[in-house]
Assembly symmetry: C2
Homo-oligomer: 455 residues x 2
Amino acid sequence: MQAVLDYLKQNQKRFLAEFFEYLRFPSVSAQSKHNKDLVACAQWLANHCQQIGLEAKIHGTAGHPILVAKTPRVKSKTKRPHFMVYGHYDVQPPEPLDLWKTPPFEPRIDGRNLFARGSTDNKGQNFAHLKAVEAYLKTGTPLPCDLTFVIEGEEEVGSKSLSGFLTRHRAELACDAVIISDTGMPSPKHPALTYALRGIIAFEITLRGPARDLHSGIFGGAVENPAMALARLLAKVHDADGRITIPGFYDGIEPLSKLERAQAARYPLKDADLNKLLGTPKLFGERDFTATEQRSARPTFEINGLTSGYQGEGSKTIVPSWARAKITCRLVPHQSPAKIRKTVLAYLKKICPPTVKLEINAGHGAEAYLVSPTGPQAQAALRALKKAFNAEPILMREGGSIPIVNEFKKILGADSLLLGLGLPDDNAHSPNEKFNLDCFENGQRMSAYLWQELK
Amino acid sequence: MQAVLDYLKQNQKRFLAEFFEYLRFPSVSAQSKHNKDLVACAQWLANHCQQIGLEAKIHGTAGHPILVAKTPRVKSKTKRPHFMVYGHYDVQPPEPLDLWKTPPFEPRIDGRNLFARGSTDNKGQNFAHLKAVEAYLKTGTPLPCDLTFVIEGEEEVGSKSLSGFLTRHRAELACDAVIISDTGMPSPKHPALTYALRGIIAFEITLRGPARDLHSGIFGGAVENPAMALARLLAKVHDADGRITIPGFYDGIEPLSKLERAQAARYPLKDADLNKLLGTPKLFGERDFTATEQRSARPTFEINGLTSGYQGEGSKTIVPSWARAKITCRLVPHQSPAKIRKTVLAYLKKICPPTVKLEINAGHGAEAYLVSPTGPQAQAALRALKKAFNAEPILMREGGSIPIVNEFKKILGADSLLLGLGLPDDNAHSPNEKFNLDCFENGQRMSAYLWQELK
């Protein structure tokens, strides 16, 4: 094992050069103009996996390709444990570009931070696992288990191709657990095991009024303004206490237990720190919950984008023909995405006035995830975290969604161990995304220890 | 006079070729990238005026240039009447471009309609007046009055340079009335004199929340969503009856008289026709007023544009850093733009929650206009309309704003005669703007008759 740790220590400089190559691909899965960049990124990753001693194969899908890489299988009289490491090479759109200090796909190191789109979400985190297995393979250290890496290219757009892929390769991918580093840890000194995730539904609503933009002088006053109708519609979704007013929205959600609230209270980033970190004039959320609870254990109705009428320089005196809102709801355990989607859309249809036409464009959805942190695999993960980071790990919920965690459970029957390496100030999904290099290095060590602890 | 009418009849084909040249300039005053196109358009217009026998001069301003063109002054023992013809060569932005059937600056004729940005608003209407004076000058028919054309390039952005210009040239521009064709007529068979206009205030509000776009999974629930805050703010401006709820907004407005409501009822475009024309699911406006009244005699609070977060393809799971609304209020006589701006902004500041920062970007403003239609000049204009169109003209209010009408009154002491040639389906400010060629020809005849009737 010492050989593995020494190898990791000695090769960090080269690892960074390779990581830079990985980050330079603008693998933006939501934008079709980048389709070729995703293919190129997957190909680079496959070549890299082969160079470090894995057997790699790219699988085409209806969307972006999936990379599968395996450790050389060891013959054994007893059944060897088999773990899957999951990650994604696709990234969020980099827009708005003018807010980046340096270009999103030209990685830059400043102190112990590496800035680039995809650095923390998720290239850096899956690359840490690859470097750990490289250390085993290149030092000839026997792995106590078989490993399969599955790194996909559609995580940021709902992992549309993955569940079909898992189903088709169910036998080959059957495993004892799935290891995922795509969540966060509260600080470099607080490694964490995440025991719950929020789910999501995404959709877009468009209100259509007049057949074209109208002169606001000639016609304004006698027609519904679709942008105003949209504002009124959206305003009816929340009350002043930050609660969502859609009937049935909270049905079936279990209240947080005392233990859970105590764990949430251990979270080191306090409300004042959070406010400062985010630069908000004042925090705001559902009454009677702490900020940590609001953003990890409570559902939301969030506007991701608004579009209507004229957005250019100066003014344009029109009544816009239409107005659009992109919306995502974060869901918590015991909320069914299909049911909530139906509930939300039925409510919006009900309150939409007859003066505009409501169009709905449904997007992706995923269930929330909840697993007990007391099982043997979780305990093994906590030990690996403690050794790698030299600190007591904490148990936490996370507010993000990893839709395929539920698919792994359903299709492969495997629980997921969520061992996130991202920090709260990493700007995931934002301009100036970064990854902390201590998290990168300790993440490699955590991965190396993990296979020993899990065996 | 018959020579003038014959000249107009015989030269329509050439007039159209010249009109096409005028329309090909993308003279979009709101977009600085078009600054050179405005200069080129003014230069073309000056050359054209000189060709038809006017003395033309271009006056530079801090913004876009102003063209002044005069008929050769006739020596006379008695003071000859002097009228100003006002128009503008700047146009609204053509966006959204994809909704144009043919490019906005490549004029196209289909039947009796000419399609191009600026065709009805306002190039076609001021060009009709130029063609009428050309007929007088080229046929050697004596004009019974002196004329001065003032055609500016900033009407669509608030005519910022014009009032200073009028003040500086007050003596030269002193006149008996200003003739303006920049309003509308209800149908080709309903010529109209407009006796009132609405005023306007324009502004932009931006709500700023977190310092950057945030991952909606990691942070959503604990921060105010600026787009949602904007929706709530805007929703508090209207009630379900279409009335604006800002305290003091309607203060001082005089109720419509019986005569005015009777005139409004004469307007030939009925509510059902209007609904069909605009393609709206259902008309909507302030309760207890007809659509004609709502859009000409009542004030509005209109969203012209909404911008927030991600607007591209697919979804992006963020809490946007900010949200913006472009707003214009149409005002009616006895509402002061300055006072209403103060009232509206004070209300928005008051209801803005402490969780976001409200930024206000003030735009242009203009007072409403109201003049009695029973004076001798108005009667002369009605006679000219009747002769040119061979139909009984109607008296109407219009909902649009011509900010400089009040400046003409204040600076030059002159009333304005509003003799609009635009039709309700002309798509002013919209894609596929057009101008009706019957209105163009009858407009030329109206202008020719007008100088006889006004003398």
